[in-house]
Amino acid sequence: MRALVVDDSAVMRKVLIGALARANIVDVDQASDGVEAVAATKQQDYQLVLMDWNMPNMLGIDAVREIRAQGKTMPIVMVTTEAEKSRVIDALKAGASNYIIKPFEPATIVTKIQELLAKTGAT
C-alpha cells in the first residue's frame, strides 16, 4: 500500500502524512505541485492519492485529468478549500474519487480514507 500526498504546503503534507499514518498507511511519497504529481505517478504505482487543488505550475484538478489520461484508476481524493458544489462536480468529472474540505478533522479524513479503500478493495 503506497500513497502519494500532493500539496505545495509542507505543513499540509505533514498533516496529511500524519492522518495517513493513523489509517495505517506509512508508505507515503510527496509531491509539491501537479507536475511533480503526474511525474511521480508515471514512475510508481500508488493505491491512493491525496490531491490539493490550488498549486503552482499545475492545478490539482489538471493533474487528476492527466493521471486518469494515463489510464490510472487508483482512488484520488481532492483535499481542498474549494467547497462550492460546482467545484466538487468539476473535480468528480475530472476523475477525482472523493472530496475532503479543508480544514478537515483528523478523524474525518481517516474514516473517509478507510471507507474509500474498503470500497476499492485496495487495502
Binding site: 499540509m12 478549500t81 467547497a83 480544514p103
Partner: protein
Amino acid sequence: MEESAKQTLEEWVITMDARTFNKFREIIYEKSGITLGPGKEALVSARVGKRMRALKMNDHKEYLNRVIQDSTGEEIVQLLDVISTNVTSFFREDAHFHFITEQIRKWLANGQRRFRFWSAASSTGEEPYSLAITLSEAFNGYTVDIKILATDISTRVLQKCREGCYGADKVKPVPKGLQERYFTRAQGKDGPLYTVKPILREMVVFQRLNLSTPPFPMKGPFDIVLCRNVMIYFDDTIRKNLLAEIYRLLKPGGNLIVGHAESLTGMLSKFQSVRPSVYVK
C-alpha cells in the same frame, strides 16, 4: 417540569465535588486548550448540568464516566459545546469592520481580486456574516473571488451558523438598509425571524476546528483573520502556538484582528501592531 429542573440544577451547582471538577477541568484543557481557573466550579456545574439534563442524568460522576468512556469522542464534543461560551453579536466592535473596508479598498486599488478571510471562532455566525455583509458592500461593482472560512470547536454553534437564522433582537445592530438587502424576513412563532440570503450564505464555508491543536489542515494564505475573544480562554503556550499558526497562514501584509480587550504585547509573536487589537504580518 421547568421548575423542578431548575431546582435540580441548583442542587448540582452545589454538589459538584472538587475532585470531579478537577477531572472535568483536565479533560477540557486537554481537548480544547480552554483553561478553567479555580472557582469555576459553579459555572462548570451549571453548564455540564445542561448537557446532563438532555441525557436525563443526575450525577456528575456518572456523566464524567460517560465522557471518559466514550471512545467515539462524540460526548467530548458535546461537553465542549456546553462549556465554550458564545457571546457574540452582529458588528460587534464595529471599528474592526471599518478597518476591513479600508483594507479592501486599498487591496482592490492594487489590483487584487482573490480574497480569503477566516473567522476563527465563528460562534453562532454573527461574526462571519457581519464580515460577509462588509465584504459584499466593499466589493460592490467588482468581480472578485471571495471566500470566508468560519470555524468553531462547537458543532452545535456551527449548525446555527449554517442555518443563518436570527431573531429580531439579534439583527438589531445591522443597519436597516443592510437588513433588507441581506436578510429574508419571515414570521416565526416567537416573532419575526431573519434568515441570511443565499448571497451571504454562499460566501461562507463552515468547518469544525480546535484552535488549540495546530498545525491546522489548511494552507491559506488569508488576507484577514478574525480571532476575537477566544485567546482569553487559552494559556500562554497555546496562545503562542496559535499566533504562530495564524502568522503562517496570513499573507505578508495580511491582518490579524483580536478582541479589543486582548493584547499580543509580551506574546513574543512576529506580528506588528497597526492599532489597538489590529496586527499585520
